[in-house]
């Protein structure tokens, strides 16, 4: 009888003790060399478009969207090529390694699972079935082709990958807003959510803007952090627990590291990163705290001014998700030069004269209300929409001005490939 008890206990432990840890390490190390080599501005512009996947379609679907982006580091600009697939929220990131060739190397990843691998592409042209290297000029009858290979995980790319140019990207204005600075930690991205590295990665994931979560430390420093408490979902094990508002900025800087090793950034550092290192054009400050909003307003105004001085088109808006946040906003002494976004209903949005209304996507398209708000000159976003088929449906409806998502590669794919 005892044996049976022990063995049955073993069974239960084996069942209940199993929580699999998933990992998706990036199989390629970026050199991040400044510049774009032979990929001049005109070449980059010509390369952007919707491509048919003529080899590798079993893995990446029938078509992809190809788009260049960049990151800045002081006077240096580094260009990256992103490819957004319609399968399993997949994307490729490429960089120019050899400045004297038209080749790109990088990796691919599918965000809904852990599939990843390396990839390389060369720019070529085809005419009457003949493939030739691309010399920077296309004559009539030529088709631009991105020709290369991909692999699984860290293996040397050997499976054929070929993308054939089909048409230009959809150029209708649309905000692709990445949640938590670019994506969720639970999607096994290489950087932690709400970190500076994630903000720098966002545009390579297809985002044109970001949403970041703002809280205050015990000594009143606005920082980026999503959850109510320090927990092992977001930070490395350090013995600290409880509300983040119980710790000073110094304590958090010294003792806490995000799950991928980064420091918890201040809001000031985050906005500085957006302005000086990214091409992002929109920042949504999500107020995750209850209390005065004046420090956030000061930073909002400072970096809006900074962006304007640099000639950047950058909107920084304070999100109002709750009545408490609205009360904090109403308590501000001066509300001028303080753009806001209201997540509550249309009546409250109008009463606050918020220029942006952001309802939850789970309310559906709300066609009449969306059209009415747009007719009043307001912008309308939905949040936080991750289900790829619903992303497709919402984009095809063509009513919203943007989507906030953890899956900006999927939003980018459906937006850029849409044929109005």
């Amino acid at each position: 009888m005892k044996t049976r008890c022990y063995l049955s206990t073993l069974l239960l432990l084996s069942l209940l003790g199993c929580q699999r840890d998933y990992e998706a390490p990036v199989p390629y190390t970026f050199a991040d060399n400044p510049g774009a080599g032979q990929f001049t501005a005109s070449v980059r512009q010509r390369m952007e478009g919707v491509y048919a996947v003529t080899a590798g379609n079993s893995q990446f679907g029938e078509q992809v969207a190809v788009k260049w982006t960049y990151g800045m580091n002081g006077p240096d600009t580094t260009h990256y090529l992103s490819v957004f697939t319609g399968t399993d929220v997949g994307y490729f990131n490429f960089e120019v390694v050899k400045a004297d060739t038209m080749t790109l190397t990088g990796y691919w990843r599918k965000l809904v699972n852990t599939e990843t691998g390396r990839a390389r592409l060369s720019v070529k042209t085809t005419r009457n079935g003949q493939v030739r290297p691309y010399r920077g000029q296309l004559t009539e009858g030529d088709t631009l082709v991105l020709d290369g290979a991909f692999s699984e995980k860290t293996a040397e790319p050997s499976q054929s990958l070929r993308l054939a140019y089909r048409r230009p990207l959809n150029t209708e204005p649309f905000a692709i807003l990445a949640h938590r600075g670019g994506g969720r930690t639970s999607d096994l991205l290489p950087t932690s959510e709400n970190s500076l590295d994630m903000i720098k990665l966002a545009s390579r994931l297809g985002a044109t803007g970001i949403e970041i979560d703002v809280r205050y430390t015990k000594d009143g420093v606005p920082i980026l952090y999503h959850d109510n408490t320090l927990n092992l979902r977001l930070i490395q094990k350090n013995g600290l627990k409880g509300s983040i508002e119980n710790y000073t900025y110094q304590q958090l800087t010294t003792l806490v590291r995000l799950i991928n090793g980064e420091r918890i950034p201040t809001l000031e550092e985050a906005l500085e990163t957006v302005v000086s290192k990214t091409p992002l054009s929109f920042v949504w400050l999500d107020t995750k705290y209850i209390g005065p909003m004046d420090k956030m307003q000061v930073l909002q105004q400072k970096f809006r001014q900074r962006a304007a001085q640099l000639g950047r088109t950058l909107q920084i808006v304070i999100g109002l998700p709750t009545q408490n946040a609205i009360n904090s906003y109403k308590a501000l002494a001066d509300k001028s030069n303080t753009p806001i976004l209201c997540e509550l209903d249309t009546a409250i949005t109008r009463s606050l004269n918020a220029k942006i209304w952001a309802p939850r996507w789970t309310l559906g398209p709300q066609t009449n209300q969306v059209l009415a708000m747009k007719a009043e000159g307001r912008t309308v976003f939905v949040w936080t929409l991750d289900e790829p088929r619903f992303i497709d449906e919402f984009i095809n409806q063509g009513q919203f001005n943007g989507i906030l998502s953890n899956y900006s590669p999927a939003v980018a794919y459906y937006h850029y490939t849409r044929q109005p």
Partner: protein, 250 residues
């Protein structure tokens, strides 16, 4: 990951089968067990007498996986009602309703059960689950979803004493149909595919007087769980959904 579960199940089967190979005790022995006797049970793999009804009412608590609810860990209760009817000596019908009122799951199935020894019992079966949920909440939800899953299953039961019965059950969960709607937009999936596995261990025994209870743990490793349809899980990975089952056998 499943290797650990199979090892666990193997241990359990060894624990069950090894003593079951002993020679049965004489009928007049105080601990002798008559395999034809039915103890009140819902999970134990022994068919009710033809025409006999069996039913239980209780509650199931499901813990949310951290990948879905992040820092919030919820133990979501659902009312759990089971109804079974014997068809023949070996065949019986099973049905189960789990409901949280805004979302419910009704399963219907058939089982074939047989004793292997005086203490060890086996059943195989197939259940079809239909689930539906509707959420309408101002400024938050205008959503609904329905789905159908097919769940073939196998149960092994061991009568530890005359009144204490242990059942171990394995289920393969397959998706048949899914439809989700927000406002006027809807998506549908008719692709049939493997969704995950579930393992259940249940004790059934007397509980104060003549009342019997089912007390068990179910560990589901699946891609999708109907109770969390409104979280719109997008992960293509199996998540762990532990469940605590407590039912009064009526």
């Amino acid at each position: 990951m499943y290797l650990r579960h199979f090892i666990g199940l193997l241990f359990c089967l060894l624990a069950l089968v090894a003593p079951a190979q002993r020679r049965p005790l004489p009928a007049d022995h105080p601990r002798a067990i008559d395999s034809t006797v039915r103890q009140p049970a819902i999970y134990f793999p022994q068919a009710p007498y033809p025409g006999e009804w069996r039913k239980s009412l209780g509650v199931v608590f499901t813990t949310t996986p951290p990948a879905l609810t992040e820092e919030v860990r919820l133990r979501v209760p659902a009312v759990d009602f089971n109804l079974q009817r014997g068809l023949t000596k070996h065949f019986f019908l099973v049905s189960r309703l789990q409901t949280q009122f805004i979302q419910s799951n009704l399963s219907l199935g058939v089982r074939w059960a047989t004793p292997l020894t005086d203490r060890l019992f086996l059943s195989v079966g197939n259940d079809v689950h239909g689930w539906a949920g509707v959420l309408k909440l101002k400024d938050v939800f205008n959503s609904q979803a329905v789905g159908v899953q097919n769940v073939p299953n196998l149960s092994l039961g061991y009568r530890l004493t005359r009144e204490l019965q242990l059942t171990v059950k394995g289920e393969a969960i397959t998706d048949w149909y899914y439809r989700s709607q927000v406002g006027s937009l809807a998506i549908e999936n008719r692709n049939r595919g493997f969704n995950g596995l579930a393992f259940t261990a249940v004790l059934e025994q007397p509980f104060y007087g003549n009342r019997h209870v089912s007390l068990g743990l179910r560990a589901a490793y699946s891609n999708f769980n109907w109770q969390f349809w409104s979280l719109y899980d997008t992960f293509d990975r199996n998540l762990f959904y532990p469940q605590l089952i407590f039912n009064f056998i009526l």
